[in-house]
Symmetry: C2
Subunit: 218 residues, 2 copies
DNA sequence: GATCTCATTATTGGATACAATATACATTAT
DNA sequence: ATAATGTATATTGTATCCAATAATGAGATC
């Protein structure tokens, strides 16, 4: 079983815990696309019945992380390069607006956290951490925007594309460039330059997309 | 094969049917915000057990149409003016891009369908039909874009805001103006003017938002 | 009268059992 | 041998039952 199965606690519903565990496994690439997810197997792994498992799978399907067919079960969703590109473009459209709104609201504490992500990002040598820190960097800045709905759909978009983003970070200068661009974005935020932060964010995303697209065909 | 095999409604699961029914009820305003949704009641209404009902409620929660608390149940989600405005702005950001991509791909048939929506819109006197036709008008045009992810999140945004959009159509010149603007959008599409269609769409949405905001305050 | 237990009830979360469907394999007919 | 058909098995969908929790109300205490 490739899913990390915690023993269920009472604080959160079983459904939520199972959802989180499988989501992590997919995002980190532990579960490859197309991998089937059998209700019974998952239920055994978590020491629960199939009911909460089914509800977790339903949530995963809504997030686009799995696809399921009636009476046939669920598999980890695949993503073609075209679909990945579409989601990159979606992010490139949305995130500049989000950060533009966030900049005027950013507390020093938020900027501090973002910079600590940059520092840790530069020091980390575990490729898996890069993905986590990259994601935390962006969500930290965006949180100040106060935009609930935008963030909801953005989270979904990031979930969907996360494995590809991690792959992009592993490319020759992927991590180096991401680090450079992150620091420029923070700088613009600290200076209160919302438009510049928005523009840098847009280029940051489109750059990652292009980088991934180039290296895709080999 | 001479026998035409209609698919009995076995194709859809009970969960799906319940989800659709409740979604419609919320979108059309039959269920007011804050209205509690008891699993047992719904199960009786559909002659099923609570299991498919719970799964339908989960999907509705993912769509943002209801909110639920552990051991306390679900209620129809509310939406403040601020939240509604955010979603209008979200749509204003996304839909111009979607239609811009759709215009070059539109078949004559699609344009025909869109115009038939306009005609029916003008003739209809039932306010409830306006909302349906308005929605169908937009989704018809957008379908040509081939953007799967964009449409997914857009559907969610439209679901969320639909009751407010219907309210806006009921305002003094809401329906008249919508009709006018719809025809201008179709015209641009037919002429292959993607940028113009995008711009008109943006103004169409922001106009509806402003109209609703003004009315809201008095 | 107000408020604080504490039992009662209503409602949701989850487990078990059964029904519906798909898949894999064996069997038969051509 | 190949395609069609029947059977067994695996897997999902749903119903029924029990457990955990929240809402309700009656009586006790001040």
């Amino acid at each position: 079983m490739k899913i990390k199965a915690y023993d269920i606690s009472k604080t959160a519903s079983a459904t939520t815990l199972i959802f989180d565990a499988i989501r992590q496994a997919i995002i980190k690439g532990d579960l490859a696309q197309g991998e089937p997810l059998r209700q019974e197997d998952i239920a055994r792994a978590f020491n629960v019945s199939r009911i909460p498992v089914r509800e977790a799978l339903l949530k995963l399907e809504q997030h686009g992380l799995i696809t399921s067919q009636r009476y046939k079960g669920a598999v980890v969703a695949g993503l073609s390069l075209d679909e990945a590109s579409e989601i990159f473009e979606f992010r490139a459209l949305l995130e500049p607006e989000v950060i533009r709104r966030a900049v005027p609201q950013m507390s020093p504490q938020v900027l501090e956290t973002a910079e600590s992500c940059c520092d840790a990002f530069g020091r980390a040598d575990d490729p898996m951490q890069w993905g986590d820190l990259n994601r935390r960097f962006h969500t930290t800045l965006y949180a100040s925007s106060g935009l609930g709905f935008h963030m909801d759909v953005l989270d979904k978009a990031m979930d969907r594309i996360d494995p590809y983003l991690r792959a992009q970070l592993l490319l020759s200068d992927g991590m180096q460039r991401a680090n450079r661009e992150h620091r420029m974005i923070v700088e613009a935020c600290r200076a209160g330059q919302a438009d510049r932060a928005a523009d840098l964010t847009r280029q940051h995303i489109l750059g990652a997309q292009e980088s991934l697209s180039r290296y895709w065909q080999e």
